[in-house]
Symmetry: C2
Subunit: 340 residues, 2 copies
DNA sequence: CTGAAAGCGCTTACAG
DNA sequence: CTGAAAGCGCTTACAG
């Protein structure tokens, strides 16, 4: 297989200089239309493909964005990554994507690899742990960085933060459970001491304080297994609890499965609301009410924000919150009502 | 913020020529250990980061692999992509990842973008449709390409194909259902006329022919909704069917949900086996038996295969099949038995 | 072992 | 509008 054709080959065939070819490539208006056409045909005849790598060297933007995600196997993050990547694609950027598996060391390694590869900007949903050195390396390399979904570095003036408005989601979910007649509501899941946990709990705590209801908080991992465990603990220790707001949909699904196994009817005897509204929520039985974070719109918005920063230099605000809403389904609604 | 330091800056500080710095960078053995040490310190003092882009220009390998996936929101493919990407990372490669959303046009576009970006090789789980032009563009650019999971281009001598051994999975699942006492087994889901569908059906058809059982095939989309539809159709048209092998886990879960809603006990009255063994299978109730494709090992293996091709020039065999196994859970096992 | 020179494929001023 | 020249940050022979 022969060497890839370059602009010189195209120039020779078109009978112009290579500068002219370069100008055509960059859609410069100073080249006559007739010349453009000649160059264009020469390009297809040669089978020319643009070499971005070479262009970058001369200072042009690489058109590569680094996307670093703490857990790509989790559909919540997958959804975000996919939406972001597709928005970038539509704007003619490509994404270098890496899963860090919640490992700050691995995270540091992939970030450095991406800097070497010359990505133009970073979007990071960080693993918990110390990111100072990692983020500093990005700053030193002069690349914009947005931290999303988890605020791990407090220097939001340098590394702007964006996330859905969890606090508000937590509030409206709690109010919904109360309106449905819940007399004692538990908050289930989420590791103690983490920002996301306190945010997702904060609206719940605020509402309960307003109406003087005692909170019941069961913190723990954010998976189905903890949902199972929580059901057992509630039965043993807090048998007056008749509703739960969960840290995320996995915890909620874990609880649902447990109730299904023991034959309890969720929606009537017990009300559950999840968080994130992943796709499965509407597909399971009973279907799961959940705080919808519109993560797909969120991903799109982040893509646009970071491109605006890159292309127009408009640095995003230090903290950005995107709207959330509540999707009510069977798990928090009396069957008799929903069948009306 | 100052310009990024280059090897010249490092060379100046270390008091050597830039060639020497380059040699150190590439771990060449011909540089004395003492000199290396001096250069290394100079690098950290300057805050030097390697510029791979520049290195590529001179012919070095980019260390970038293009990963193009038909549906990144589907956990099966996410698992594959993640495992592949992490294996690449461990070998000091990075992955440019794109979701094509089953759209051959989008696929063509992202592939061309990746060629411009200078990826060294492609791994593609293709969207259905005509990929000839897209694949030809890759071949013209001289990049290795492996098609995985779906054989869309028959030219496997040029574009080697790899997938789990679906046929065998289909066979062992069918045999398992028969051993459990199934008297009539349906195959549910999978679009007609697609390779994957016929492969996942082939073992089932073969076994049924051997024992002279009439097949019942309900082809259709591969999502939960079709699982619902299938349950209704089975009840109406084939009420002697007492077991189902599903095209994938989503279809199976759709069936499970439907049975749960109507109070039928899966595992006793009706046996179900899914395909792919996504993570949820063990977490739902009843837990879902499934053909385990070990997609994580598969991703790792593909990464290694493509790197071997790239680094050692050892082109993979035209067709590669990886082993599968059956994971038996509640959905295909009599409760009385499983509780022993 | 180390230095000076050429070149990878583009873009960017700068003349014409 | 178009051409000739320099340079982006490396690597690669080729001398010393």
């Amino acid at each position: 297989m022969a060497r890839r054709p370059t602009i010189i080959d195209v120039a020779r065939r078109a009978g112009v200089s290579k500068s002219t070819v370069s100008l055509v490539l960059r859609n410069s208006p100073i080249v006559r239309e007739a010349t453009r056409a000649i160059v264009r045909t020469a390009m297809t005849e040669e089978g020319y493909v643009y070499n971005r790598t070479a262009a970058n060297m001369r200072g042009a933007d690489a058109g590569l964005i680094g996307l670093v995600i703490n857990d790509l196997r989790n559909p919540f993050f997958t959804q975000f990554a996919t939406s972001l990547q597709m928005t970038l694609s539509a704007r003619n950027y490509s994404a270098v994507i890496a899963n860090t598996d919640e490992d700050p060391m691995l995270q540091d390694q992939v970030v450095r690899a991406m800097i070497e590869h010359g990505v133009s900007a970073f979007v990071i949903s960080p693993a918990y742990g110390d990111v100072t050195a990692t983020f500093n390396a990005i700053a030193r390399a002069g690349k914009p960085l947005m931290q999303v979904l988890r605020k791990v570095d407090p220097r939001v003036d340098l590394f702007p933060f964006a996330a859905p408005d969890y606090r508000r989601g937590s509030r409206i979910a709690t109010e919904h459970l109360l309106k449905g007649g819940a007399e004692r509501i538990a908050f289930v899941g989420g590791l103690q001491g983490r920002n996301v946990t306190s945010e997702r709990m904060s609206g719940y705590l605020a509402v309960l304080e307003e109406i003087q209801m005692d909170p019941v908080v069961l913190t723990g991992r954010s998976n189905r297994a903890f949902g199972h465990e929580a059901v057992r603990r509630l039965e043993m220790e807090f048998d007056d609890v008749d509703a739960a707001l969960c840290f995320n949909d996995f915890v909620a699904m874990g609880m649902l499965t447990d109730f299904a196994r023991s034959g309890k009817v969720v929606g009537t005897n017990f009300r559950i609301v999840g968080f994130d509204d992943i796709e499965d929520c509407s597909q399971i039985y009973p279907s799961l009410s959940s705080v919808h974070c519109d993560i797909s719109a969120f991903g799109k918005r982040i893509a646009e924000t970071v491109l605006a920063w890159l292309e127009e230099g408009s640095k995003p605000q230090a903290e950005m919150r995107t709207p959330v809403s509540l999707v009510v389904r069977e798990s928090s609604q009396d069957e008799t009502l929903s069948n009306l």
